[in-house]
Amino acid sequence: MTGRLMAIAALIAFLLGIVVATFSETRIFMPALLRGAAVTLQVAGLSFLLMVAAALTAGAAKTSPFPPVRWMAGAYIEIFRGTSLLVQLFWFYFVMPEFGVTLPAMAAGVLGIGLNFGAYGAEIVRGAIQSVPKGQREAATALNIKPLHRLVRIVMPQAMIIMVPPMGNLTIEMVKATSVVSAVTLVDITYASVQQNQIHYRTVEIFMVTLVLYYCLSQLIRFSMGVLEARATRHLCTGH
């Protein structure tokens, strides 16, 4: 319930912000910030898809019975968690051309962020898969269900419920981390605020607007995850 209230408050704040932007002198920097916000949302949305795909794949691979598959997943996870996100972004944008792969800035940003957070997510997925009781796997075996079908239909749906809350927190961290994409020349809301501040010198207004927008976004994610969790667990509690 508090999550719902906070989300509503966040939305109201967001709308108020737009109103203020339109009718006061904040409008001199607001359009640029909103253009930046659009870039941030785009990077965040695409990175989220990549993060989830990478996390599910690597997390499931980490529980594979075949050692080489586990090792590959382990190498991916260790490399992307151990080196810094910024290093990875630079690598995708500045070093990949050396290998003959020139990526647009958006692609480099999404790849870097998606794969970096996918590595953190993989550990969440692995933990969730392993916390599904052993008896579930045994029951599936006893029913002659094939391993892949067992993973997709029996284990994963139960693991999903366990992984939603930590994945929600990771998504919030991911959205916050998109603020570094100016490293690959994208003008997101963070970089737009720096630019606007250098033009207009209105530090407090510009950065408060930016911070509040990020805050609304992270509260929105928290709220959506709450809804998702409630949906996922609706038949796990007794009742009708």
């Binding site: 080196t83 070093v95 501040n197």
Partner: protein, 221 residues
């Protein structure tokens, strides 16, 4: 791809090695700041006065809910405007410290909430003062979950230090960027920086585990 080993060993490695102390300094000082500031924030957060505890909770939420980089930029531009002129490194350490203080405050609080209510009641029944209750009963019992979490934040801060390169602090990432644009050779500069981070974060993780073991042996049973 042409990897230039001579360039790697004559330019990249020495110049990156030269700034490793800056990264370490930033990590350690921010961590200490976060520990102390986090304690203060936590004390405000658990205050029995709602006019103090609620705003403190909201501030912690806000700091946690917004990107560190934006906070760093904010400080970087704001401080000179209000007459505080600091070197970029100091600004960066303050920013890292504040951000992680909010995280630490929640860790402390979770640790203290983790102590069973019966312990408070027992302390009250024994007529211990609030100070003694905290010092002898609550804090020692709240440490087991706190210590490993703080260790993770230490490694986290280390991984956040590259953000200081946005403030032109001469740390690893910044040096790597400079080398890249000076020689227009990013491959070696960025890859070696990546290796440095990998090695140092593994070392930091080992250090944290070692420290945890020591602390566990000393305070926890």
């Amino acid at each position: 791809m042409n990897w230039d080993w001579q360039f790697t060993f004559e330019v990249v490695v020495p110049r990156l090695l030269a700034v490793v102390p800056v990264t370490i300094q930033a990590t350690v000082l921010s961590f200490l700041l976060a520990l102390v500031l986090g304690l203060a924030l936590m004390l405000l957060r658990i205050s029995p006065l709602r006019v103090i505890s609620i705003p403190a909770g909201e501030i912690i939420e806000f700091i946690r809910g917004t990107p560190l980089l934006v906070q760093l930029f904010f400080l970087f531009f704001l401080l000179p405007e209000i007459g505080i002129v600091l070197p970029p490194l100091t600004t960066g350490i303050v920013g890292l410290g504040i951000y992680n203080a909010a995280l630490c405050a929640e860790v402390y609080r979770a640790g203290i909430l983790n102590v069973p209510a019966g312990q408070w009641e027992a302390a009250k029944a024994l007529n211990l003062s609030a100070c003694r209750t905290y010092r002898d009963i609550i804090i020692p019992q709240s440490l087991p979950p706190i210590v490993p979490a703080l260790g993770n934040y230490f490694i986290g801060i280390f991984k956040e230090t590259p953000l200081l390169s946005f403030l032109a602090v001469a740390e690893l990432m910044h040096a790597s960027k400079l080398i890249g644009s000076e020689y227009y050779r990013f491959t070696e500069a960025v890859t070696v920086a990546g290796v440095f981070f990998l090695v140092m974060s593994l070392a930091a993780a080992a250090l944290v585990r070692f420290a945890e073991g020591r602390i566990r042996g000393r305070i926890l049973h």
